[in-house]
Symmetry: C2
Subunit: 484 residues, 2 copies
């Protein structure tokens, strides 16, 4: 028996969700009102969207029409909606424009028919049963102390399991003491940046292109950025040697985000030698190192020199972003500072989720899930590459060896924008090198196609829709050279 | 069937936990070694503690003695332990001293026989079954999107439930849009402080005494502090009017931490009028407002003037600190900044835990749990006050109307230290005004006695032990006046 009545009403292609379980009378009315306010505020219902007639909606929701008339009257009084005389009611309010000067790519609340944005795993593949089983076991076996304040560094049992996993599966040098449990790379990057800023180290090199959010996090911690270009061998690390006074370098050596390049072996050596010589801290963002398809996994930088590298990993791509578990492997020099920053940030992670994750590692359920997903994503990659190259043979497809997305260079910004607009019109979410803010200086254009987020049953359809949507716009793209 | 073999070995009154499930050979050995390293590093096994003989431990753990001999040899080689010839093996390593210049009260890893430190709820009362039920329901009903990246502001369904609860139970003015879901007040305070710092507001008034961790968080966000004294009517708000250029005030108006004073009605009015006139933001830390025993709940400041007050609440005291859920109610002026800072900090809370908490609110399980705990804590408070005043009639007991702890003024710092040492020798954890770093300038001494954290079955015994432990030290304390 469920107490929840959840209804969906398709209006102009946008779904309106109202959850008003166990409510009645004024509370029910307030819930429906809040549902509308939220949908309008967040832009799910856009200005001009036609609202369903009260009579039809009342039937759909199983509430009285009178309640809905009151709801509409209240929302109209507040300026959210407007009734057109003798006609339908429409949304009258413009959702907040994107936040001021910081165009962070917020989690979009638009519901795409197909979400092909990069860096997102398939949420429909989240192992609900395994996670519930792990939570149940953790709840049953946790000592009472587990519900009190815990260690900022993270639960010992999780650090033991994770150190074992990282050594075994990812080639890291890590013992439990080296680990700091975080809520994801987002948090970990901030902790490291603030640790260094507190020591007066406030100049950091990052890749260009790179994630806008990451650059914002480092800047918000008080750092100036030096942006280093990327080519098909990854970050051009020789440019670090120009003597810019950089004290920290953040990079994605195992699969450059978003270009997909792997940092070459000579550059790895050169970077580490330089870091050792100058006392610079390297922060290695290994955001999806588990998904490598065509050759054996690249060993992380950290495995080569644990003394100068902070390794950042996450369960956001392997389990789900909604779980919020990540980790740092910290060299001795920065460990206590990192733990202190974690304490200042949020004291520690949810203990129960740490114990559940430890349980999944312990039982092998995490490894099994990763193996299953690696196979699934590899097949998806093969499907999307075949479809693209067969149907649009002039397109170059890059960054295909690993990960959850690939890159299609575009001739210029307007071509990129046209392709993304065409996809959007077909209900497909894509990202672009320029649109997504990956570059700060003028940089090349390109489409980022993620094959992670689509539910399995819809994947083929999503690829077909993409091919169709791109047909008109990419047919006259020149064959672009291989460098980014 | 469980795959876990968990053993406990009592050594010198300290428990040694080794969890080495499903391991064998080198991995098993590594686990046991790590268990020891961790126990020594964290101070659970202190320098000089005698280790169990390998023969006895091998039997206890069900492993070969050879494995343990290797473990001991490795640990000795690393300097953790030392064998005394012809005698037993002892811990040779001193756990890290408290971190450098920042004496943050880290979660103690010492296992007290009775934990009477303040600000801690009873972890043995955590509603495991209700939480599991809520998690299960949330997992079963969550749409796939719930496992993707979510809104930094928090899940809509939780904000709807929480706004209803806060309005109904705590007298706040809050609609779902006003709420930002955090991982606790620790995080919320940092988000607000960084939001203001980004606008150039970097001068903040806080109470003295107050939590050291909170002062560190605000300072780490780049603020200078102005410390305002506290008396039996709470923060002396008139001192804010000296024109120090303060742009933010952080206080605990409903129950001053740690003195227990309530901010008087005239001071509430004066503070809010001043804040409105000067455009100052008030941050109200309502850390345990749910536990008020003798008179009706104090209405939070936020209910009086939602336009100038940020309200911070938490489930750390009502459910458990280990859950890591809190919330801010933000005035319009700071809302988008707060949400942006949350995104920069950790993107968003665990979605599943948000949905589970919403479920507990929706079904009334949260309300029921709070009612049950309020009654339990009130009885504990009565017990501890009766025992203290009966056995040590010269003691003054303050801050008794609400919350999870009370304050016993001490004549001076050395008397406070002696009492805490006597309690510690009896296996009782206490905190002190001076020892706990609540004051930065010289301030009065006092014992903070928490009656929250002890498991229910051990509560009477803990009070008896406390009375006994204090007998020798407090008998000659003069009767101290009522002001702090």
């Amino acid at each position: 028996m469920t107490n929840s009545r959840r209804k969906e009403w398709a209006t102009s292609g946008i779904d309106l969700f109202l959850d008003f379980s166990r409510a009645a009378g004024p509370r029910l009315r307030a819930r429906i009102e809040n549902g509308f306010r939220e949908a309008i505020r967040t832009g799910r219902l856009r200005r001009g969207t036609q609202l369903p007639p009260t009579r039809a909606l009342a039937q759909d929701l199983g509430v009285s029409r009178g309640t809905l008339l009151e709801v509409y009257a209240q929302l109209a009084a507040e300026g959210w909606i407007a009734g057109r005389r003798g006609s339908s009611t429409v949304v009258a309010f413009d959702a907040d424009p994107p936040r001021g000067a910081t165009p962070i790519r917020a989690p979009s609340l638009v519901r795409w028919r197909f979400d092909l944005r990069p860096g997102r795993p398939d949420p429909s593949s989240f192992p609900r049963m395994e996670w519930l089983r792990a939570l149940r076991r953790a709840l049953a076996s946790a000592p009472n102390e587990a519900f009190g304040y815990g260690s900022p560094q993270g639960q010992v049992s999780l650090r033991i399991e994770l150190a074992g996993y990282l050594s075994r599966a990812r080639g890291l040098h890590a013992v439990p003491d080296d680990l700091l449990i975080t809520t994801g790379f987002t948090q970990g990057l901030g902790l490291v940046a603030r640790s260094l800023a507190a020591r007066g180290i406030r100049r950091t090199a990052m890749e260009e292109p790179s994630m806008h959010l990451h650059r914002s996090i480092v800047r918000a911690a008080g750092h100036e950025l030096v942006l280093i270009p990327v080519d098909s061998d990854g970050m051009r690390v020789e440019q670090l040697e120009h003597g810019d006074g950089v004290g920290m370098v953040v990079l994605t050596p195992n699969r450059q985000h978003p270009t997909g390049a792997t940092l070459s072996a000579p550059r790895r050596s050169r970077l580490l030698a330089w870091a050792r010589a100058t006392g610079t801290l390297i922060v290695e963002d290994d955001y999806d190192g588990e998904f490598r398809y065509d050759r054996r996994p690249i060993g992380p930088l950290q495995g080569l020199d644990p003394g100068v590298v902070v390794y950042g990993g996450t369960a956001s791509k392997t389990l789900a972003p909604g779980v919020r578990i990540g980790w740092l492997v910290l060299p001795e020099s920065i460990r206590q500072d990192g733990i202190l920053q974690k304490e200042l940030a949020d004291w520690h992670n949810s203990t129960l989720e740490q114990l559940a994750f430890a349980e999944m590692l312990r039982t092998g359920a995490y490894d099994r899930h990763i193996r299953r997903m690696r196979l699934r994503y590899r097949r998806r990659r093969d499907t999307v590459i075949l479809a693209l190259t067969t149907n649009h043979p002039t397109l170059v497809v890059k960054g295909t060896e690993a990960g959850l997305n690939l890159l299609i260079p575009a001739p210029d910004a307007s071509a990129e924008a046209a392709a993304i607009a065409a996809a959007s019109a077909a209900g497909i979410g894509l990202d672009g090198l320029i649109l997504g803010g990956y570059y700060e200086s003028p940089g090349p254009a390109g489409l980022l196609v993620g094959y992670g987020a689509t539910p399995q049953h819809a994947f083929r359809a999503s690829v077909e829709a993409l091919i169709l949507a791109l047909s008109d716009v990419v047919s006259d793209w020149p064959l672009l050279a291989k460098q980014t």
